[in-house]
Amino acid sequence: MKTTVQKINNLTIGFQSQKGEQISILKNISTSINQGETVGIVGESGSGKSTLALAMMGYVKHGLFTISGECMFHSNNLLEMKNKELENIRGRKIAMIPQNAGQSLTPNLKIGYQIDEALRLHTDLKQTERDEKISELLNKVRLPSPETMAQRYPHELSGGQQQRVAVAMALAGSPELLLLDEPTTGLDVTTQAHVLELLNFIAKDTGTSMVYVSHDLGAIAQVSDRVIVMYSGEIVLDGPVRSILKNPIHPYTFGLLKSIPKLSLPGLPNSMSGSQPQPGSIKKGCSFFERCEFADDNCKLNSPSLEFIEELNTSVRCFKHNELLNLNKIDSQNIKSIENKILKNEILDLSDVSISYAKQKFLDQLLNKINDTNPTVKDINININKGETLALVGESGSGKSTILKSIAGLLKTKDGNIKFGKDKTLSNDLRQRDPSFLRAIQLIFQNPDESLNPNHTVEEIVSQPLRLYFGLKGQELKDKIIEVLDKVRLGEFYLTRYPRQLSGGEKQRVAVARAFAAKPDIILCDEVTSALDVSVQAAVLNLLQELKEDFGTTYIFVSHDLAVVRAISDRVAVLYQGRLCEIGPSNNVYKFPSHPYTEVLLGAVLEPDPDIKPKLVAEDIVEEKPPENGCSFQGRCPRILGDICKNEVPPWQTGENGNSIRCHIKIEDLKNQQISN
């Protein structure tokens, strides 16, 4: 029998509304964490998952309070303990790794010193023992050369390394329970895969129980033994990872899994309607009722309770789980395939484009000369056809957003031309661009909270391009705004709303509406779905696809999420350190990745399936600058040939599948090597 480390009984946490009502953020949570078990808590923003994780440390956020229930760590109720007593538990017995490790490290203290401090605080080791322990810890989290690493400052490390240091610090007190709050969110794909693999290893090695909180089912699938799915402050599903992800018997999880784009399947995923209810808005009935495709009248009136299903070893909160059980057996794969009418005429042509971020010398600035032999982005040649969706992918520092900014005119190019249509060269200077070109190229940004003016109503936001480009006024303007909003499925009553009154998905719809109001030929999408919840992401992707089918718009789509890219793009260009590595039809690139970097990148993607493990081929070191000579990927390439890769820029070659790659190894040989691996 396994020992239970933590047991949560009927925990309800909430706040007092201005009207004096008690509103629950967490409702009747009961679960337990066993020794050596890794439990994944998954949910979208507002599901209460972070509140639960904090409660597991005995911490309740300011403004919230425990309404009822307890959180037992062994035999102590953490929520009733005094701060003094909690200090003996936090860090020593329960440790937490926050989302942004880089920010939680003190910037002006050396890594070694910070770990030493954690050791002093949480253990009773002597100085010499601690020094040894620091090396041991740094070794354990697989940081290279622990001695030199201890002498570094946080900013000298990459994001992945900082996260490892945070893990090392958390392990300092040899905790029994390790809480991780979105520990890999914001890290690059390859880094993320490495960190997760490390966490898995540590869990096995030390026997520490872990609670892994994330919105990312892919990450959860890789680390967890058991998964808890939260929705609107309740546990809706709790069971072994395979049962949850392969046989989801709750409609929310069922829908959620279907709405995640998958690397192995082309085409757009199904979308889920609506968004999570506001806390306190559901008075009776199932909290998922509004969005549930299986709902009936019973669900509206009665709240389902968490029911244990013996055969699956799973608890579920739904009246109709039996129906889903049968449904899961028929593999329902109704993913919409996309079919874009791509005309064979070029709408945008990037030739030999280089972009430099280097600070210019004063004299050069005066002469309008850019001197930089090793620019951030170099030798980009891409033709984009009308009606096509071209995706630019790569990790941070790949220059994908930089290229987008240059197309929009926000960043000057150093060399090369960007041509609109066949022959119209776009001016480097935004102010000198012809207004018709400005109208023709619109941008949609990553985070609608930043891209919508918080002091403008939806009406004002959408009216901007209409007034600027078409000079619309009065009733005509208003009619047009309503028409555009209708296109993105927002009704007339949104006109007077402010962005803060909208949900994340609605905000992004407004941003999409603003872009389409200009009747653009090209829309540049910069990570447009990465700030959204998974269930909302699919809806936005579907909307973008429908709009482009209606208007024949061309998209240039930048994303770090390779599965999203696969779902929406016709062609994909893979970038590393500002240089193109591979370009070709998405289907081919994803099925037969040829370039060593593409192989590494796709291998590291986390699928929401515990049986598909990421392949970790290359080291996850981060390079500051592109190499001066030779192949851009030489620093990390697992197939590097030697001097030729270091000295000569590899030539372009096109394979039989239509992907072009830039590598010194022949495409066929790369293929054979991949197979023999």
Partner: protein, 294 residues
């Protein structure tokens, strides 16, 4: 047309909302009441003053408060009550318009600096810092003694000196929004700089600037009264609190009323403006304690 009307209604509604929130807390309510009382007094007092403010009567020198002269009389036998309720008029008018000027130039320069950034911003801010380090009262005295003490000199001069703080607030607020994607988005669409300032930046910095302006108003009132106190504000026999305090302070030990009344008038107005400005900031969701710039 239609749209314009609707927008106006919105603005009015907004103002109403803000005032309602301000008045919902006791401190805000008190501040607003005091301020409104002073403003009404300043506008209407000439209609009901009991005596002529400049009527000198040697026989009534320094009469203590009585039912006839509520606040007593001063050293020239003028009624202190009359002079007190009239004494805020010039101060309020001068500082109100002074604050408007401060808001205008401070706000525009601050937004401009925040927008252009780089070298120009650096230079301008250096100059402003240099100005901040000169004691303003010295510079004021110089200006006033060169150009005279008419309102037409005082208003712009005060407005200039008290605008410096606003420049910093406006610049900091502009810096905060300038990096946001909605500005980038407007630039990429090709809006002119003017339109970006007007439509995108101003709505986001307006609140901070207005709150700062309200705060500056109370400072300016104090400054203006100090000038009068030193004899460089309004000229006698115009009733003015600063001047009254200055004239009567020597006689404080035996004719306290002649000093106390204007002091009460001045401090209550300053407290009123301060409380109002604080409530204003809170109603707009600006936390002055974390954003105090100078």
């Amino acid at each position: 047309m239609n749209k314009k009307k609707e927008k106006q209604k919105n603005t009015f509604e907004k103002i109403y909302e803000v005032i309602k929130t301000m008045a919902s807390k006791p401190s805000g309510l008190i501040g607003l009441t005091i301020l409104i009382f002073h403003v009404i007094l300043a506008i209407t007092s000439p209609l009901y003053v009991p005596y002529d403010y400049k009527a000198i009567d040697p026989t009534l020198m320094l009469t203590p408060p009585s039912s006839e002269f509520w606040f007593g009389t001063d050293s020239l036998g003028r009624d202190v009550f009359t002079r007190t309720i009239l004494g805020g008029r010039t101060a309020l008018t001068v500082t109100f318009f002074g604050s408007l000027i401060a808001l205008l130039w401070g706000g525009s320069l601050g937004i401009f600096c925040g927008l252009v950034g780089g070298k120009i911003d650096d230079v301008v801010m250096r100059v402003i810092d240099a100005f901040l380090s000169i004691p303003w009262i010295l510079a004021m005295l110089l200006i006033v003694s060169l150009l005279g003490t008419t309102t037409l000199v005082l208003i712009p001069a005060l407005g200039f000196f008290y605008g410096k703080g606003i420049v910093r607030v406006a610049r900091a607020a502009t810096h905060d929004v300038i990096a946001k994607d909605f500005i980038v988005s407007a630039r990429a669409r090709g809006h002119s700089n003017m339109s970006i300032i007007w439509n995108e930046i101003l709505p986001n910095v307006r609140d901070a600037i207005m709150v700062e302006g309200a705060m500056r108003w109370s400072w300016m009132l104090l400054g203006f009264s100090s000038l009068s106190f030193l004899g460089f504000g309004v000229s006698p026999p115009t009733p003015d609190w600063g001047l009254m305090i200055s004239n009567a302070r020597g006689l404080m030990s035996f004719a306290y009323w002649a000093v106390l009344a204007p002091i009460f008038g001045l401090s209550s107005l300053i407290i009123g403006i301060n409380l109002t400005a604080d409530a204003f900031a809170k109603a707009l969701g600006i936390d002055r304690s974390t954003k105090a710039p100078v």
